[in-house]
């Protein structure tokens, strides 16, 4: 019996799917949404630190993607394009939030004007015990992220949390790859310093 030619079930690339969507294939776009909705949501969430805002913002990023689909050219890597949209949208949202009061770890809890959320986390007051250590660590990490220089935070989130390459980050942030690496290094140093201050990690990243 003649052997049937082997046809590997090739997974379509993001770029192919986007081109298919340009031709009207909604199913192709659905696959893209399934691939990227969660990563983009988490990216936006870590940027904006607010679930409700992240829900609205990540929808908006995809809506803009749909609107701009006609302009997409496969010469550009899809993920880079999408993250550029998401990052720029988040930057604008954060700029808008300058005028708004938003809940932060420094905000006073309830009627107690004495202790902020962070005080509770790091103190032995009742309440700190209620939280699991994982939750405490998470709050520390978000606070540390928040205190990073915006450019360093940008690079750190994309490299560490989204697993984007330094080259991709360079294209998204429109700076050189070396600058991106340098920002990442400073971000790691700053985080390590915060870790040491909070007693999370004893070793120092910085050389003596």
């Amino acid at each position: 019996m003649a052997e049937l030619p082997h046809q590997p079930n090739r997974v379509p690339s993001d770029e192919d799917l986007m081109c298919d969507f340009q031709k009207g294939d909604v199913r192709a776009f659905q696959v893209l949404v399934e691939r990227y909705q969660k990563p983009i949501f988490n990216f936006v969430f870590r940027y904006l630190k607010n679930r409700e805002a992240a829900e609205e913002s990540h929808q908006e990023v995809f809506l803009r993607l749909v609107k701009a689909a006609g302009e997409y050219r496969p010469t550009a890597k899809f993920s880079t394009w999408l993250y550029t949209l998401a990052r720029n949208f988040c930057i604008d949202q954060n700029r808008k939030n300058v005028f708004r009061n938003h809940q932060s770890l420094d905000e006073k809890i309830g009627n107690d004007e004495t202790f902020s959320r962070l005080d509770r986390i790091s103190s032995n007051e009742p309440g700190a015990d209620d939280k699991s250590s994982a939750k405490q660590l998470e709050e520390h990490l978000y606070r540390i992220l928040d205190e990073l220089n915006p450019e360093q935070k940008d690079v750190f989130l994309m490299r560490e949390m989204q697993q984007l390459s330094f080259e991709e980050i360079a294209e998204i942030t429109k700076v050189s790859s070396n600058t991106v690496k340098s920002r990442m290094r400073y971000a790691l140093q700053a985080i390590q310093k915060k870790f040491a201050e909070l007693g999370l990690v004893s070793r120092s990243f910085q050389r003596d």
């Binding site: 009207g24 909604v26 969660k38 988490n42 749909v66 302009e71 550029t84 949209l85 990490l141 790691l188």
Partner: protein
């Protein structure tokens, strides 16, 4: 094999940790780390930070978001697949009716004003014609004719002495192609909400945050020269620089504005005022 000292290793360590350096460099790093406690400690520190952040829980977007996105995508795809004339016939019909009504009203009005002086009508039309047709001017502007091309000094000043990013010259095809739409929609193809940025700059200027307003005006002028409000952003820069007591810079931006949009008595007066304040 290349010999590396601690400084060389330190520069490559981050790239190596994330698996982004070549095999030879990586081999050198491994070899150096094995015999250097300091670099080994640095590596462990990177690893510690990385491991800590990987414990952050992943968030799940809601199902409703997914549905909303897909509904929008389906509608957009359907719109794109409609025959081209389908998009025009309804607006064309509305336009025809409106045009008919307008022409009828105009003819009646003209009949009732038949002895009106022709000169005033002429001067009104001339005034309209003399107004700068920004949209036309902008659409005729090539992408590389940014407000910063051909003027190194100003370019250098606007970019804070740094190299102007490729964003201003359009580094990718889709950015070039969709820039035109971006002007109309107020959304840049790379996701920036230009209307919001411009509004924010105006708001900050009003509140007295001239430094913040200047940054936003500069961002708009530098990276989105074809955006409708880019010319007003340039003028915003001038106002902010004036308030920040940077009169020489204000004059430079104003002169640049003149080269782009033409001189006027009002602009000359403004320059004179700035110069008199400077000296």
């Amino acid at each position: 094999m290349l010999m590396m000292n601690c400084r060389d290793v330190s520069e490559q360590l981050v790239a190596a940790y994330y698996g982004e350096c070549d095999a030879q460099t990586e081999a050198c790093l491994v070899s150096h780390r094995a015999s250097c406690a300091s670099c080994q400690s640095e590596w462990a520190a990177i690893s510690g930070v990385s491991q800590a952040f990987r414990t952050l829980s992943e968030q799940e977007p809601s199902r409703i978001s997914y549905q909303k996105i897909m509904v929008f995508a389906r509608e957009a795809a359907e719109r794109r697949q409609r025959p081209f004339w389908a998009a025009f016939w309804q607006p064309a019909l509305s336009f025809s009716i409106m045009a008919f009504v307008a022409v009828t009203a105009f003819v009646q009005f003209e009949g009732s004003q038949s002895n009106r002086p022709v000169a005033s009508a002429l001067s009104a039309s001339q005034t309209l014609a003399s107004l700068p047709d920004l949209r036309l001017r902008v659409s005729n502007t090539a992408m590389d004719q940014s407000p910063f091309s051909g003027d190194y000094q100003l370019n250098n000043f606007l970019s804070g002495g740094a190299k102007v990013s490729s964003a201003s010259t359009g580094s990718s095809n889709y950015a070039l192609d969709s820039d035109l739409d971006a002007r109309m929609l107020g959304h840049a193809p790379d996701g920036h909400d230009l209307e919001t940025l411009y509004y924010r700059a105006r708001k900050m200027e009003k509140l007295g945050d001239y430094s913040g307003a200047f940054d936003d005006y500069k961002f708009i002028s530098q990276f989105y020269p074809r955006y409708d409000n880019a010319r007003f952003a340039l003028l915003g820069m001038v106002r902010c620089l004036q308030r920040l007591d940077r009169k020489d810079d204000a004059v430079a931006v104003l002169r640049h504005y003149e080269t782009l949009h033409g001189a006027s008595q009002e602009l000359d007066d403004w320059v004179d005022t700035l110069k008199s304040e400077t000296f």
